[in-house]
């Protein structure tokens, strides 16, 4: 077993390649936990993001060796892993269902009412928009990743990104507006 705690400390020290080494481990673990949780309640598939990310942390990191900042770094990575997990699946699903055709975005008014296929399309559109946003405003996009995909609190996000909570709040607000607008105008 690779020492994920040591890798996490390397991330703080900005050691080259640390994130690249750590991310796949987090990604794998998160998917395994998600699978186990989904399996535990067939027919009623829900995932508690916060619990999921926390469980991954507990399983991979020795909490006695790290600081709160390291923990936030880990959460941010986990948030990205969640994004990949959901988006990967949405992509495979859309490709499967629609033979790889371009997707049509139909953001439903009621979150619960959307079909799986429509929601997959929404998620892909959101991911694409987020990638665009990152090109213009990296930090904004990362705030969305942490808050939305990882369920991080404002404080945790601030810690992970090295920004003030106030900044995080503001970025989060603006990014949400832009993303909603972007998804809507394409609808």
């Amino acid at each position: 077993m690779p020492d994920t705690t040591a890798l996490l400390l390397d991330v703080r020290a900005d050691a080259p390649g640390a994130i690249d080494a750590l991310f796949p481990l987090v990604y794998d673990e998160l998917r395994q936990i998600a699978r186990a949780r989904l399996r535990a309640s067939p027919g009623n598939a829900t995932l508690d993001t916060v619990a999921l990310v926390n469980e991954a942390y507990v399983r991979l990191v020795d909490g006695t060796r790290v600081t709160l900042k390291d923990r936030s770094h880990f959460f941010a990575l986990a948030a990205r892993a969640m994004r990949f997990t959901l988006v990967d699946y949405a992509r495979r699903r859309s490709a499967q269902k629609r033979g790889g055709d371009a997707v049509r975005v139909t953001l439903d008014e009621r979150i619960d009412a959307a079909s799986g296929d429509d929601r997959a399309a929404d998620l892909l559109a959101l991911d694409a928009a987020l990638t665009q946003l990152a090109a213009a405003d990296e930090r904004s996009a990362r705030v969305v990743e942490c808050r939305f995909f990882g369920g991080l609190t404002v404080e945790e996000t601030a810690e992970a990104l090295g920004a003030s909570p106030r900044t995080v709040k503001r970025e989060w607000q603006k990014a949400r507006l832009w993303l909603t607008h972007t998804l809507r105008s394409d609808g």
């Binding site: 998917r31 395994q32 936990i33 998600a34 699978r35 186990a36 989904l38 399996r39 535990a40 309640s41 067939p42 027919g43 598939a45 829900t46 995932l47 508690d48 993001t49 916060v50 999921l52 969640m82 994004r83 997990t85 959901l86 699946y89 949405a90 495979r92 699903r93 953001l107 979150i111 619960d112 959307a114 799986g116 429509d118 929601r119 997959a120 929404d122 998620l123 665009q132 946003l133 090109a135 213009a136 405003d137 904004s140 808050r147 939305f148 995909f149 990882g150 369920g151 503001r170 607000q173 603006k174 949400r176 507006l177 832009w178 993303l179 909603t180 607008h181 972007t182 809507r184 105008s185």
Partner: protein
């Protein structure tokens, strides 16, 4: 899409605007350059929706996708596994997936031989304790089965990340219903195929495995229609019917949701799952195979469940019409083919009450075979209303039951109920076939009437004389009537069995059997009766396994119109199983017997069977059922029989024994005293049954709360005196009673007397050639020698005890494990440190044999603690002792020698 070209400007404007209240914001917006303003306004118009969309994490947003995600993650994992090497196997593909794991196609690549297997692997992230236990249980179950129609287990292992897996025979085929339809198999071919399935299920049942999930997709068939290969699959939710084993609970969510169409009522309700559950599953499968429809046509889980619980299925013949083409026939012919036998066979297997289904999967298969052979089937339409004469069935044969220290003698050795029963039965038989056996009834009544113990004449010389005279005249009386000769020989054999003259009973039965073999025209009923007598002889002679065979043969040969005999035989079979300590099986069989007797309105038979069920219930630790049996039987026998009637003594005594097995000693003692009084009145003070009852009464007194050691000793001594004066006392309970005397002295803290008693127990058991008694006696003697500071002698006795017990009941039997603990203790007293690993193993084995928290486990820990202390590991010793002491204090009498020794150890450890 809003352009990101001027995001910096937009972003800065928003920073400003978002801090303002509505009025100020409107004013500020007006000051913006129009292009920028339009963009910013557009964004702000989405405020509410943005809050809603992003108000909870992405997993909420993606909720409709999560079900698919789970499956996708599984599939990705499976793809990852392909190419993986596990032990000698390499995974090549996916064969299927179940609740816990995926079944992969794998190939053996270690060069040993070329073989493809099905490899089942627990999914990642499912390695919770529950699922690991269930997975292991499935593997163990498969390992215990060896039948051509059950997929064979090859071997098992673990992956690097600790997940268990096992390789089993790869099965190629399709669900049995699909196979039959594809080849358009006619009904008869389907029935033959189905009989193979019954055989496989029966094989599992004999190993106490209940499949619990029989349905077409778990019964695969491959090969050409002229040589189909059937394989029973998926023991994933199977259950081992072993009261000693941990019952891994089946969680409905997470593991598997039962298919209600094939589930038995007791699986949907609260009933106990037994082998009868699989008989139901087989019935549902058979129904579908012949009729092409499932037993209940309801749609939807809830509706199906309700129907299974409350509605009788329609006869399959009434629902078989569309299925005709796939059965290579016309609708009319198909209906005719199923109507009658197949209908009643199906419906009997599908009865709501488990005890009214076939007694076993084998019996179901046999009945189908009878149908195929054109013989009458045993299943009868569900309208039994016969009333018949009553039978008092003998209750229990001798079982060396219960604890290794105190021995309850279970069962009455020989009350004289049989002779009367046999007489009555023979009378009835004679009446039925009067023209064939003119005079037989008179003859028997004349010779045997005097021997009827119910008529209180128990002068054994007279009985002896009568019997001798009867036997001497048989040849002459029935020279040209072999059937009557057989009957009479069997009747006399019964009397000899009853009287304990096994050698004579055996030779009479041998004569009866030889005559029967030479008389092919003898009615099946007579052949059945001879086997019944043989079975009772085996029970009395202490060979319940042989008795089981004879009972099964007797049931086999019985015609279809003898429900009262079937009821008696079923009770007997239950006794044979009970005497082999196969309690769960005995329980199922006796429940069937009880159902039969109740159907017949046979109260005596029902009460006798219920009395026996109190024994199985007690062994299965079902206090409620044991007490309920006592509550029903006691008032009945008290009213039905006089104060000196052996049947009343027998029932009362047996119920007492059941209660004593559950440690309900005060209640048991009351019943034992009652039975003892009746028995003394009926048989005098020196009858072996009186000794046995005294033994058990003493046992209840000794283990009562508070213990009455003096009273116990008095009863044990009286029992010993009776045994010692009997010509064949050794063969009865003598050794056990000597042993028990030792335990009373042990409890009273009197080492020399205890040692002396155990020595006598060894002597008596050696003379009796009774290995279990001998092993127990040697073990107890060894225990005393060890306490007396003579470990080498103790080691010798206990090692011998282990050897004898292992040879007699097997290495893993709880008795053997008990003996081992003493043997290891004797070694530990000499070489404490070197023995520590063995002691730890003994602790584990004791726990697994008796269940965690049992006082014997605590005792094993105390022994281990003593050795730890002697090895200088004081802390470990203290903590083990601290754990064990409360349990042991609650178990032992304060003056008990072993307990005193443990207390001395505790003091030495500073506790």
């Amino acid at each position: 899409m809003s352009s990101l070209d001027r995001w910096a400007d937009v972003s800065a404007a928003l920073d400003h605007l978002l801090d303002l209240d509505a009025d100020d914001r409107a004013a500020a917006l007006q000051r913006l350059e129009p292009g920028l303003r339009a963009e910013v306004e557009a964004l702000l118009s989405h405020s509410e929706e943005a809050d809603r969309l992003f108000g909870s994490p992405a997993t909420t947003f993606a909720a409709p996708l999560l079900g698919g995600l789970a499956a996708d993650l599984d599939r990705l994992e499976e793809e990852d596994e392909i190419g993986r090497r596990l032990g000698p196997y390499q995974i090549e593909g996916v064969l299927g997936r179940g609740g816990m794991g995926t079944v992969y196609l794998a190939r053996r690549v270690d060069g040993a031989f070329d073989q493809t297997v099905a490899l089942k692997l627990l999914r990642r992230g499912l390695d919770t304790d529950d699922l690991l236990a269930r997975f292991r249980a499935e593997r163990q179950i498969l390992a215990s089965l060896d039948h051509p129609a059950i997929a064979r287990l090859y071997d098992g292992g673990r992956t690097d990340d600790g997940r268990p897996n096992y390789a089993m025979e790869r099965v190629e085929g399709e669900p049995i219903t699909d196979y039959c339809d594809r080849y358009r198999l006619p009904v008869r071919a389907r029935l033959r195929l189905f009989a193979t399935v019954c055989g496989a299920v029966h094989h599992a049942h004999q190993r106490l495995v209940v499949h619990r999930d029989l349905k077409p997709s778990n019964v695969l068939v491959g090969g050409p229609p002229e040589a189909p290969v059937v394989k029973l699959l998926d023991f994933g939710i199977a259950k081992v019917l072993d009261p000693e084993a941990d019952d891994v609970p089946l969680t409905r969510t997470g593991v598997r949701v039962l298919t209600p169409e094939y589930a038995a009522p007791e699986q949907l309700g609260q009933g106990a799952v037994t082998t009868a559950t699989d008989v139901y599953g087989l019935g549902a499968l058979l129904y579908e195979m012949v009729a092409g429809e499932r037993p209940f046509e309801e749609v939807g889980r809830r509706a199906v469940e309700a129907a299974v619980l409350s509605r009788e299925p329609a006869r399959p013949s009434t629902r078989a019409s569309e299925a005709a083409p796939t059965r290579s026939t016309t609708p009319d012919r198909l209906r005719r083919e199923i109507a009658g036998d197949v209908d009643v066979i199906c419906l009997k297997a599908l009865r709501k009450e488990p005890e009214r289904r076939y007694a076993s999967a084998e019996a179901l298969g046999d009945d189908l075979q009878r149908h195929l052979d054109g013989r009458p089937v045993r299943a009868q339409p569900d309208t039994l209303g016969y009333r018949t004469r009553t039978f008092v069935r003998r209750h229990l044969g001798a079982v060396a039951a219960a604890a290794a220290i105190g021995l309850l003698l279970v069962g009455l050795a020989a009350t004289a109920t049989w002779a009367a029963v046999t007489t009555e039965r023979q009378r009835q038989t004679a009446a039925e076939e009067r023209d064939r056996a003119e005079g037989l009834a008179d003859y028997l009544v004349g010779v045997l009437g005097e021997a009827n113990p119910y008529q209180a004449s128990t002068d054994s010389l007279t009985v002896d004389g009568l019997v001798a005279r009867g036997i001497a005249t048989i040849d002459e009386a029935f020279a040209d009537d072999p059937v009557s000769r057989v009957r009479t020989l069997a009747a006399f054999a019964a009397i000899q069995t009853e009287r304990g003259d096994h050698a004579r009973a055996d030779s009479l039965l041998t004569l009866a059997e030889a005559t029967l073999d030479a008389t092919p025209e003898a009615p099946a009923r007579v052949a059945s009766d001879v086997r019944w007598e043989r079975a009772r002889y085996h029970i009395a002679a202490g060979d319940p396994a042989a008795a089981e065979v004879s009972y099964r043969e007797a049931l086999d040969r019985l015609g279809e119109d003898a429900p009262e005999t079937r009821s008696g035989l079923t009770n007997g079979l239950g006794i044979a199983l009970l005497n082999q300590s196969r309690f769960a099986e005995a329980d199922s069989v006796l429940r069937i017997g009880l159902g039969l007797a109740r159907d017949l309105g046979d109260d005596d038979g029902a009460m006798a069977t219920l009395t026996n069920l109190s024994q199985t219930a007690a062994h299965l630790a079902d206090t409620a059922r044991t007490r309920a049996a006592a509550r029903e039987v006691l008032p009945y026998v008290r009213e039905r029989y006089g104060a000196g009637h052996p049947a009343r003594a027998s029932a009362t005594f047996t119920l007492g024994t059941s209660l004593a097995l559950l440690d309900l000693n005060a209640e048991a003692a009351v019943l034992f005293r009652e039975a003892l009084a009746i028995q003394r009145r009926a048989h005098g003070d020196t009858h072996p049954d009186v000794a046995m009852m005294r033994n058990n009464l003493a046992f209840a007194l000794q283990n009562g709360e508070p213990p009455d050691l003096e009273g116990a000793l008095e009863q044990f001594e009286a029992a010993r005196t009776i045994y010692a004066d009997l010509p064949n006392g050794e063969a009865l309970g003598w050794a056990a009673t000597e042993n028990n005397i030792g335990t009373v002295y042990e409890d009273a803290g009197r080492a020399p007397e205890a040692t002396e008693a155990y020595r006598r127990a060894v002597d008596v058991s050696v003379r009796a050639a009774s290995p279990i008694d001998e092993a127990i006696a040697r073990r107890n003697l060894g225990k005393m020698l060890l306490l007396a500071g003579r470990p080498p002698l103790a080691e010798r006795e206990t090692a011998r005890a282990v050897e004898i017990m292992a040879e007699t009941v097997g290495e893993d039997h709880p008795y053997t494990i008990l003996m081992e603990l003493n043997a290891v203790a004797a070694r530990a007293a000499q070489r404490p440190q070197a023995t520590l690993p063995d002691l730890r193993r003994a602790v584990e084995r004791t726990d697994s044999a008796f269940g965690a928290g049992h006082w014997r486990g605590a005792l094993a820990r105390a022994v281990l603690a003593e050795a730890l202390l002697a090895s200088g590991e004081r802390e470990d010793a203290r903590s083990l002792l601290g754990e064990a002491l409360p349990t042991l204090r609650a178990h032992f009498a304060p003056t008990n020698l072993v307990w005193r020794d443990i207390q001395a150890t505790a003091r030495a450890a500073g506790l």
